[in-house]
Amino acid sequence: MSKLSHNDLITLLLAVSTMLIISRIVSEYGKRFGLPLVMGELLVGIALGPTILGHLSPTTHSILFPFASNANFSLAMDTITSLSVIMLLFVTGLEVRLPLVLRQGKIAITTGLGGMILPFASGLALAWFFPQLFNAPNNGPSHAIFALFLGTALSISALPVIARILLDMNMLKTDIGMVILAAAIFNDLVGWLVFSFILSMARQGSGSPATIGHTIMSITAFSAFMLIAGRFAINRILPWVETNLSWPGGVLSLSLGLCLLCAAFTQSINVHAILGAFIAGIVIGDSVHLREQAREIMHQFVTNFFAPLFFVSIGLNVDFLRHFDLQIVTIVLILAYIGKVAGAGVGAKIGGMSWRQSLAIGFGLNARGAMEIILGSLAFEAAIISQPVFVALVVMALITSITSAPMMRYFMKTPSPTQQTRVS
């Protein structure tokens, strides 16, 4: 059995601590300029990875991150990033409150649908009819899978970034804030279900109707079982755990254990592990018995430990300069803005908002942040997309996240935090 040697373990621990400490310093510095946490983490990855350190000092890079020369290190890092993505999807699921979508009613559905249909259709159509624009295959199952992926990638939103923007703008509890959150929850739920299907199809490599049917059935059956029977069971088990077991250890063990169990199950039925983690997050997060403190601990743990490792590792694996393709980046950016802002905007308008509010909602939902990067990373790992498309998605995720708040402020006529400070 292959195992980590004494030196391998030291290298791994050094790499992990470097990633955590430097990304924290850079992210805290970026915070002063209003940059999202994920931006700092990605920048650290780019700086420590092949893009900068690999060019400037290949020896230091290979000593610190010996991906190419040390298979054990590579495997250990791969395990850490896989676990990180599972945990990230789990905490995203924790915030998917289905009752919020139901409470918001028609407007959440029209906004959520608008914010999915137009971006999905535009991405799918462009990738289907003009795959050469993305240097993608133009026939066979890979063509269809790529087209489906691009549509999904453009239609997803990033709940964590959106929540942060709304909190900063003091809009989390407003009607518009609630609509944006509800629509983002709807988008995330549908988007990750569709993406699980795409990943499963890519893994099985067959586009036969039987395989498609089987995959759809597996995803639907698992989701339905967990959301109905699983929620019922959790709502009975959680109060007992909170009362009789150590606090918060009992709840954390149950939650993380269920997350990994579901992830293992979905992986075993040829649907990616992320679906299991995401659904487990929904089941636990939706429970009325989950205390806010337990939710906070899980978020803190994942956001400050697993997320930096995952986002830094992205920069470590991809050369962002060499694979930067201006044409692909521009197309992806244009599609992202037009599809999401127009789609969600029209949806909100149909739901009864004014045009200004609808556009603010559109820009609010346009923030893709960490979710888009996770999506792109998994698609890249599954060989659905090339490095240039992945780089374009990362750039799009960052630009849409950064521009979201100022554009919302413009349409809402809300003063920026600096202006608010000045006024006060």
Binding site: P99, L102, R103, G105, P160, I162, A163, H299
Partner: protein
């Protein structure tokens, strides 16, 4: 019977009170409560029974009314066949009922599903206010302590006013307007770039906003001798207030009527009202604001 237009009519005073008569073992208790409430509110009382008018039922009801001191001239008994929920809804509409009183089970289970579903069906769709009595008493319950849901909703002020009006008539002493603090995405947003001080500040700001919102609404009421307090509690809407009402031993929980029509999906993924109906903590008043445009200020009694 006239068919007065219900639209735009304020949710109080309760001029016409209907009672759903189900010939259950609690018939006498529900009827007794309804008689006392109708007298306290100076309202006309109508008795509705959905089902066949059999001589046995007629005799039972007459005897029950006599025992409770309700003369057959003072009230109207309406018998109608049909599905309980739509029939009762229609009877309330046709008769211009302001408040429908019915007995409700504290907790639904498989065997009591039918009765529970009538209360649920009415709660979801009624165009008048509803009073669900969990433990009715023939000689009247003491409605002393009210808990009112202080959601940020245009209907809430009507609910508070209606509860205050009802409280004044039944002798309530204390009303607590409770705001549930549940913010989806907050934990996630704060995990990303918030110092301990910022997190604390955000939470306390949300708390004071909720208190101030409830306080603004209370200022619009004329509570008379009733003490009105405001309180915030953490937790998901519906579930948190249900637990609060239970732990504070409230006699009545008053909430807004649902904004949208609830369906099967709301039952699978319960929220707000559905959480409360799952396990009623005490009697419940669901105030139907027929028009949110009406002035929120309570008319003097």
């Amino acid at each position: 019977m006239n068919n007065p237009s219900l639209k735009g009519r304020p949710p109080y005073p309760f001029k016409t009170i209907g009672v759903a008569v189900a010939f259950s073992p609690r018939l006498k208790e529900v009827l007794g409560e309804a008689i006392i409430i109708a007298a306290a509110c100076d309202a006309r009382l109508l008795l509705f029974h959905v089902g066949r008018k059999t001589p046995h039922h007629e005799t039972t009801l007459r005897e029950c009314c006599q025992r409770l001191g309700l003369s057959s001239q003072a009230t109207r008994i309406i018998w109608q066949d049909g599905n309980p929920v739509p029939t009762l809804l229609n009877l309330c509409k046709v008769n211009g009922v302001d408040l429908l009183i019915l007995g409700a089970l504290r907790r639904e289970n498989l065997f009591r599903y039918y009765l529970g579903s009538v209360a649920r069906g009415l709660s979801r769709a009624a165009k008048c206010s509803l009073l669900l009595l969990t433990e009715p008493k023939a000689n009247g319950t003491s409605f002393s302590k009210f808990v009112i849901c202080g959601d940020k909703n245009p209907k809430t002020i009507h609910t508070i006013n209606a509860a205050v009006y009802f409280g004044q008539n039944v002798g309530a002493q204390e009303i607590t307007v409770v705001t549930e603090l549940d913010q989806p995405g907050l934990a996630m947003a704060m995990a990303d770039h918030s110092t301990a001080g910022q997190a604390l500040q955000t939470k306390s700001q949300m708390n004071s906003e909720a208190i101030s919102n409830a306080h603004d609404m209370i200022c619009l009421c004329a509570p008379g001798k009733i003490t009105i307090k405001e309180k915030t509690i953490p937790g998901q809407p519906g579930h948190a207030i249900r637990q609060y009402a239970e732990s504070s031993h409230a006699d009545l929980l008053a909430i807004n009527s649902p904004d949208t029509r609830y369906g099967l999906i709301d039952r699978i993924f319960p929220h707000d009202l559905e959480h409360i109906l799952e396990d009623l903590p005490c009697s419940m008043l669901i105030v139907h604001s027929r028009s949110c445009q009406t002035t929120p200020n309570r008319p003097s009694p």
